[in-house]
Assembly symmetry: C2
Homo-oligomer: 386 residues x 2
């Protein structure tokens, strides 16, 4: 396989962006990434886009051709990739394969979701399409409900507490204060989380990622070409993905995401390192319990100890492993198809020393972890500093 680098990154503001449509958001992120890469649009050979539910949210499928059109990149090949909330990472991964195969040497990846044009009920229904429609959603399960089941089981098996879950949200809000693109740039306390409205017991509003508009983009380039083009690249040293059943009832365990464990194991093997070498990680905290499971399943902490480690500050900036320096899905926001690409953007900024106000010193390896639905898809990437 040819080796591949990230040579440019960009993103739009994340938030409730009433003044921008989907085209506006992808152009903002895409133009920033192309400028950051010091390229002209005409040097881009193909486009991959990640979007989860544009059909239901804004009535528009065929979204990557639309993005290519909006960015003035026609007639390059434009391909949408979907894997629910992991759509952005899957777009990134397939762009990586396209370059690794030798078919292209410069490819743009965009992730986008325009969620606030739909009503909250419509958005919740659309997001439900990430789970098992026939076995879960038609029976009344919602996504907070599914993750609440996992949280209850984790609390039962490992003594995880609501305070421990809340600590993930508090940390991510604190990190987002320093991220000018984030949706919620304000600190909150554990009491704020515990006293916020119940959504699906034990999860409260401040345990849940929000509904968000936003886009993120990165430029990938063949590594040999990247080395000639710029001093400002980061190398992709692992790309791994795994699947599981859509429905929770078919899984052996409710307290782990098996697809994460398999993808992480494969990613560490590809990179030739273990989790102890990772200096910064963007993980999929769609709910606080998801971050607690992620830091365990990714091997940063032993199974059952993720909650305590979070409460003890071990996942803060300056802790054992800095998790979600961007603010994560909780505080940076979660425009579903954009999230996986935004994770790459944040890790690239960290590895390039450009994460203003939240920079980790001396970080050599960064990891991204993106989950689709309640864990039927998991994607892990590892990036390395130049």
């Amino acid at each position: 396989m040819k080796k591949v680098a990230v040579v440019g990154v960009g993103m739009s503001k994340f938030g409730e962006l009433w003044d921008y449509n989907l085209r506006d958001l992808v152009v903002q992120a895409g133009v920033e990434a192309i400028r950051d890469a010091n390229l002209e649009g005409s040097e881009i050979q193909a486009l991959y886009g990640g979007t989860m539910a544009s059909g239901r949210l804004i009535g528009q499928e065929h979204i990557s051709a639309l993005i290519a059109d909006a960015m003035g990149l026609n007639p390059i090949p434009a391909t949408r990739v979907e894997g629910a909330c992991a759509s952005g990472s899957l777009a990134f991964r397939n762009a990586y394969f396209a370059i690794a195969s030798g078919a292209y040497d410069t490819v743009v990846v965009g992730g986008v979701e325009k969620m606030t044009d739909a009503s909250t009920a419509e958005a919740v229904t659309a997001l439900g399409g990430a789970g098992d429609q026939e076995w879960e959603l038609l029976q009344g399960a919602t996504f907070p409900g599914l993750y609440a089941l996992m949280a209850r089981r984790h609390m039962l098996e490992y003594g995880t507490t609501e305070e421990m879950l809340a600590a993930a949200s508090v940390k991510n809000h604190a990190n987002a204060v320093h991220n000018k693109y984030a949706q919620f740039r304000r600190e909150i306390t554990i009491d704020d989380v515990l006293n916020s409205k119940k959504v699906a017991d034990p999860l409260k509003v401040l345990d849940c990622s929000p509904i968000t508009d936003g886009a993120a983009a990165v430029i990938l380039m063949d590594l040999d070409k990247a080395k000639q083009h710029t001093d400002n690249y980061v190398e992709i040293v692992a790309s791994a993905q795994a699947s599981d059943t859509l429905a929770l009832h078919d899984r052996e365990s409710l307290t782990e995401i098996r697809a994460t464990k398999i993808a992480a194991s494969e990613a560490y093997k590809q990179a030739g390192i273990g989790p102890e070498k990772i200096g910064v990680a963007e993980v999929h905290d769609c709910f606080t319990i998801a971050e607690v499971m992620a830091v365990e399943d990714l091997g940063f902490f032993k199974k059952g100890e993720g909650g305590k480690a979070t409460l003890d500050g071990e996942t803060k900036i300056g802790g054992k492993i800095a998790v979600n320096t961007s603010g994560g899905l909780k505080a940076c926001g979660h425009p579903v198809g954009a999230t996986g690409v935004k994770q790459i953007v944040e890790v690239a900024w960290q590895l390039r020393g450009q994460a203003e106000g939240r920079q980790i010193d001396g970080v050599e390896y960064g990891l991204t972890h993106n989950v689709g639905g309640s864990g039927a898809t998991a994607v892990v990437h590892i990036l390395k500093r130049r």
Copy 2:
């Protein structure tokens, strides 16, 4: 790039399949393909799925993880690729890249759409998401309406007649009689087409592809491995894709699909042959005018002469170039995400000498041509006989 072969193909019946859900259809096609390849499920390393609008048609996104689950293929990576009506070809193309990169050597590609669980109005609205929602569909344009504009302009510029368009439908129905998987296995006449109900003048019901349930699957394998595994492979010698504006009003011409021309030119270059070497072609006849434009844009006939050539029988089995021996989208049926994969299945059968009742003698090269929407995406593949 590593070279890649098709080593197994399969499909479900195409039609109004009230007794099967989406899972059933993909399992039927997938199991047939795996058996045809003489493999065990455990030998499959990754899955790509093409689906256009499962979110709107059956409330289910995250469709490739669901397929992997239904086929018992967890935990292999499962990725959905979408490009409207070209979704199947894009899934095939990205599986091809994944193998060409060296990441995997055996990958299954499935295409599926379950359309008849939605009302016709819901299906038409969902299909509309392939065009430009903001500029076309919200203004009242439907897909038959968009292609009717192209037909009118083609008639004006080149003297193409309604009889010439009808001849494409008549031929495809005649071919489908010999395809046991086809939705409409009955011959029709030009008068039948001309006297059928108007949908969008000059297009009548029998100029339009139907709403269909169905799935198709193929197994791709690294060519070197395929040669050791089987005598029954076909080689992929070209994979090309191009994009255009979603909205018709932004295009320079209404009488060609520019993305088809660009993708075809690139495909012929990759294969090192011209259109005269192609013995069989599955082209995207979502409407009869689409087939007429396709046989021109692919270089089989000069611009403006596609209609006359069709009426003269030059695209029949035994003509200059056999087009849509499967029955095409018109008569085999058009389960949107499945169509691109079904085209590969049909061409593979032709190249392996297994197209019972409709076999082209001595065919060495076959071509597939799959269009997304009204031409914002076009994908061309060329396969070669062993």
